[in-house]
Symmetry: C2
Subunit: 134 residues, 2 copies
C-alpha cells in the first residue's frame, strides 16, 4: 500500500490534551527535515493538487475533518481523516485535501527541505510517471 | 542567551494559512526526533514545570496566547508568546507554560526520543545543577 493511515492516541487530563504525532508513524527511519501547518478557515477549500518525486510526507489532522482524494500507481479513491489521524504520503502519490469543516488545521512533516523541482503539479505528467512505474 | 524567541511568517491566501515552523529556527543542526502538540481548552492552565538535561526543544505557538515563565543559569523572568512565535528551549532551562486564552494550541519539536530520565522535575535539584553550571 502506498497511502497508510494511522492514529495517535491523545493523553487527556484536566490540563488539556497532549498528543504525540511521531510515536505511531507506521514507517521506519522517517527523518523530519521540515515541519509546517495549514489552517483552513472555510469549509470545502481544496489544497494539495500535486505529488512528490522523492519526498515522503506525514499529514496529521489536528482539528477538523478532511477528505483526502488520492491517486497512486495501484489505486485511487477517497478517505476521511479525523482528528488524531494521520497519513503517510509516499513519493508518487497524488493528493487533494478538502476541508469538510471550518477551522481545520493539519500538520505536515516532510523528510526533505522545500524544493520546487520536487513537486509534480501536472496531472498528465503524473499519470505518465506512474504508468512507467508499475 | 539560552532562551531564544523567533517568528515564522504565515503565507496567507484565499485557501487559508500556511506556516513553516522550521524555516526560521535560530539554531543550527536541530534534528527533529519527536513531535507532539498540546491543546489547552481552558485559560490559566499551567503546564511544563521541568527542565531537560540534554534535550533541546522548540515550542511553537499555533493558537492562543502563552505566558512563558523561565529560569536559566543566567536569568529568569516571563515572556509572552503569540501565534507564529516560537522559542528554542536549551537544556537546563526551566519552563512553566501558562495559557492566557481558551483553546490554545502549541507544538513541540524535540531533538530526542521520550525518556523520563531526561526530565528534571525537582526545582531544588534544578537550582543546584545550574549553580554548578555557571
Amino acid at each position: 500500500e502506498n497511502l497508510i493511515k494511522y492514529f495517535s492516541a491523545p493523553h487527556i487530563d484536566e490540563r488539556g490534551i497532549l498528543t504525540v504525532i511521531t510515536d505511531n508513524i507506521p514507517i521506519d527511519n522517517f527523518k523530519i527535515k521540515r515541519v509546517y501547518y495549514i489552517k483552513t478557515l472555510n469549509k470545502n477549500v481544496i489544497r494539495g493538487g500535486h505529488a512528490h518525486y522523492k519526498q515522503t510526507q506525514i499529514l496529521y489532522d489536528i482539528e477538523g475533518l478532511l477528505e483526502i482524494e488520492y491517486h497512486t500507481s495501484i489505486n485511487n479513491g477517497f478517505l476521511l481523516l479525523k482528528e488524531y489521524e494521520g497519513i503517510v504520503i509516499s513519493p508518487l502519490v497524488w493528493i487533494n485535501i478538502k476541508s469538510l469543516t471550518n477551522e481545520c488545521l493539519y500538520l505536515v512533516l516532510a523528510n526533505g527541505e522545500y524544493n520546487e523541482s520536487e513537486y509534480i503539479r501536472d496531472k498528465n505528467k503524473f499519470m505518465e510517471l506512474i504508468s512507467n512505474d508499475s
